[in-house]
């Protein structure tokens, strides 16, 4: 897997959001813009054909990272390469070409479809971006896509509210597929769905990957799902990647204390998996003012001492393909 060139590569990728005060507040009350450090110095490689799972708790920056990768957000600093092309510098025709390559499937199938548009309208947008003009060809393509994602052609002129959550997510998948992408960021695509329907979408995504040789960045907080679908997993905590490893390795030998706690906290129907629970104290600190040093030190049960609170550990390769950012591993 590592032999290949990465499809997507980031170098020191950083994305800060500023929660802006109004001009008046700035001038009169001398308030300053707040800085939310959503993604901080992330180095990540995604290889062609693989599924990289990105896990972490709410507010850890995983969604921001996914959207920055496909240029829905502009990075604050750092570099993103897609096939050795600098993504954040793309403009005009090159940007359109990139849009055709890299797509996204959203978490909330209720908000991600425009309620005033029919399925035909929704899916024809990316088809036009692909350069299709003739209505007949567009319709034909829409029908093919609907069929591929398991929807009936008679739904083509229905509005989103006429569908169930699972069906809406299929429409979302069809829209992403319409551009014939190579790389898809799947942002919690099954979190909003009922368990019995989740499995349908997961299987659909797997089938599509095989059929079209897709590369996925699969963002989720559900560790059993990520275990099922991913080849490799990256664990994120407060804007930092703290551990990456092939799925099996990560579940067998989690090294970072946070990963260990996370894995132990999964409630599972699976008796073979259950392990002693590590209950972390406290809650995730706010990304507005993340703790210095290792960001996990406020909740860590294996703290070394001063070094953890002062120095930010960087990712080191402790075994083949297994990287961890913790002062325990040097």
């Amino acid at each position: 897997m590592t032999a290949a060139e990465p499809l997507v590569k980031t170098k020191g990728l950083t994305k800060y959001f500023t929660s802006r005060r109004s001009l008046v507040a700035k001038l009169v009350a001398r308030q300053k813009d707040h800085l939310i450090k959503a993604v901080d110095d992330v180095n990540l490689d995604i290889y062609p054909g693989e599924t990289l799972g990105l896990v972490g708790e709410s507010g850890c920056g995983k969604t921001t990272l996914g959207r920055t990768l496909i240029k829905l957000y502009e990075p604050t600093s750092g570099e993103i390469f897609y096939r050795n092309q600098l993504v954040h510098e793309l403009k005009g025709r090159e940007l359109i070409a990139f849009r055709k390559e890299a797509q996204i499937i959203f978490q909330n199938p209720y908000a991600s479809l425009n309620p005033r548009k029919t399925v035909r309208d929704i899916i024809s947008v990316p088809l036009r971006t692909r350069g299709l003009r003739e209505p007949r060809i567009i319709e034909e393509e829409i029908l093919n896509l609907l069929q591929r994602v398991g929807l009936s052609p008679r739904h083509i002129d229905n509005y989103p509210h006429q569908f169930s959550g699972g069906q809406r997510q299929r429409i979302g998948v069809a829209r992403a597929l319409a551009l014939q992408p190579n790389f898809i960021v799947a942002d919690e695509p099954v979190s909003a769905l009922d368990v019995s329907v989740q499995a349908q979408i997961i299987n659909l995504l797997e089938e599509l990957q095989e059929e079209f040789q897709l590369t996925y960045l699969f963002i989720t907080h559900d560790l059993s799902v990520v275990h099922y679908i991913s080849d490799r997993i990256a664990v994120m905590y407060l804007g930092h990647i703290v551990e990456t490893a092939p799925t099996i390795t990560l579940f067998e030998r989690p090294l970072h204390p946070y990963t260990q706690a996370l894995l132990s906290a999964i409630p599972s129907v699976d008796k073979g998996f259950r392990r002693k629970r590590i209950i972390l104290e406290g809650t995730v600190p706010t990304p507005l003012d993340p703790p210095p040093g290792c960001r996990f030190h406020t909740r860590c049960f294996a703290k070394l001492g001063d070094v953890c609170t002062r120095v930010t550990p960087s990712l080191v390769e402790v075994e083949d393909n297994h990287f961890v950012a913790c002062h325990h591993f040097k």
Partner: protein
């Protein structure tokens, strides 16, 4: 039973086997059917709001009256007959059958003048609402979408305008520019766009954060297309509701200005100036002021009833399920 062969054939034919023309007809058919469905739905819902239905009918009658005014008037509304001065309505003592609502202080037929007056009120109302909507919604969507300095300037300017009472503001503008139809439109729109701006900006701010906008961006749509074809359809219903309700108050403002002599000018019959000129005769000829006032009241009331109904039908957020 005989079935329409061509229709069945077209719908059942696989897409690939249809000629471009057939496909075009097929799509057109679907589109028309959908539009008819939507419109049918709308009327079905309107029927469930009897007050709104009545409002709609009255407004339509007023509009027809304004359009066909020259054909409808029984007498010349501009020139009076001296002998007919303050002639009472027909059913009144001293009234004459050919002058249904009597005559004003210059002997002009009141009914004809009221019918002509609808032209001013309706056209001023429609044009100023349209202009306000276009300006307000365009600026509002742009401000909400781009934020930044553009938004800051427009929003503060809007705040500033909102600090003036509407009538006094319009009065000032009319004093500066003088009476006249287009001056009146200008005076009304100068402040009229603000509410549309605030509505469109607020709605855009909340729509913009929804994932379907990001999806459109990811599909390679440009900013302009996103604003026009993604955001606009989602806010247009609230705009229609606001527009209807605002039209009523703009018509009132127009009448108030006309009443003060700062309307479309004295030559053209307007309800406001009719109310004003009849004021002195209130004691012995009440109809000269009161009847145009009634016409105004009925129109604005109907518009508001229609607006309330539209809000129930089009703005589902205010609907209680």
């Amino acid at each position: 039973m005989k079935v329409n062969e061509t229709n069945v054939h077209l719908a059942q034919l696989p897409t690939t086997d249809r000629s471009p023309l057939q496909q075009h007809l097929y799509l057109l058919g679907i589109k028309l059917r959908l539009q008819r469905q939507n419109l049918g739905n709308f009327f079905r819902q309107l029927k469930r709001h009897p007050t709104a239905m009545v409002g709609a009918i009255v407004v339509v009658l007023y509009i027809l009256m304004a359009i066909f005014a020259p054909l409808l008037v029984p007498h010349d509304p501009f020139t009076g007959i001296l002998g007919n001065r303050i002639l009472p309505p027909k059913w009144y003592e001293g009234g004459r059958p050919e002058y249904l609502l009597g005559c004003d202080e210059l002997g002009r037929d009141l009914l004809s003048r009221i019918i002509y007056g609808a032209r001013v009120s309706i056209s001023v109302g429609l044009i100023s609402v349209t202009v306000s909507t276009v300006i307000g919604v365009t600026a509002g969507i742009a401000a909400g979408y781009y934020r930044g300095l553009f938004d800051e300037i427009f929003s503060r300017f809007a705040d500033l305008l909102l600090a003036f009472p509407f009538l006094i503001f319009a009065l000032g503008v009319m004093v500066a520019t003088g009476p006249g139809f287009w001056n009146l439109i200008f005076a009304l729109c100068f402040k009229g766009w603000v509410e549309f701006f605030r509505l469109a900006r607020g709605e855009t701010l909340s729509e913009k954060t929804k994932e379907y906008v990001e999806a459109a961006k990811a599909s390679g749509q440009g900013h302009l297309t996103i604003m026009l074809s993604e955001i606009m359809p989602n806010i247009i219903h609230s705009v229609i509701v606001l527009g209807t309700l605002r039209m009523g108050s703009l018509i009132i403002t127009e009448a108030s200005l006309s009443f003060l002599g700062l309307g479309v000018g004295t030559r053209i019959p307007a309800w406001g100036s009719m109310i004003s000129s009849g004021r002195q005769y209130m004691m012995n000829a009440w109809w000269i002021s009161t009847l145009p006032g009634m016409a105004l009241l009925l129109l604005v009331l109907s518009i508001n009833l229609l607006g309330e109904g539209l809000r129930d039908i089009l703005d589902p957020r205010l609907k209680i399920d």
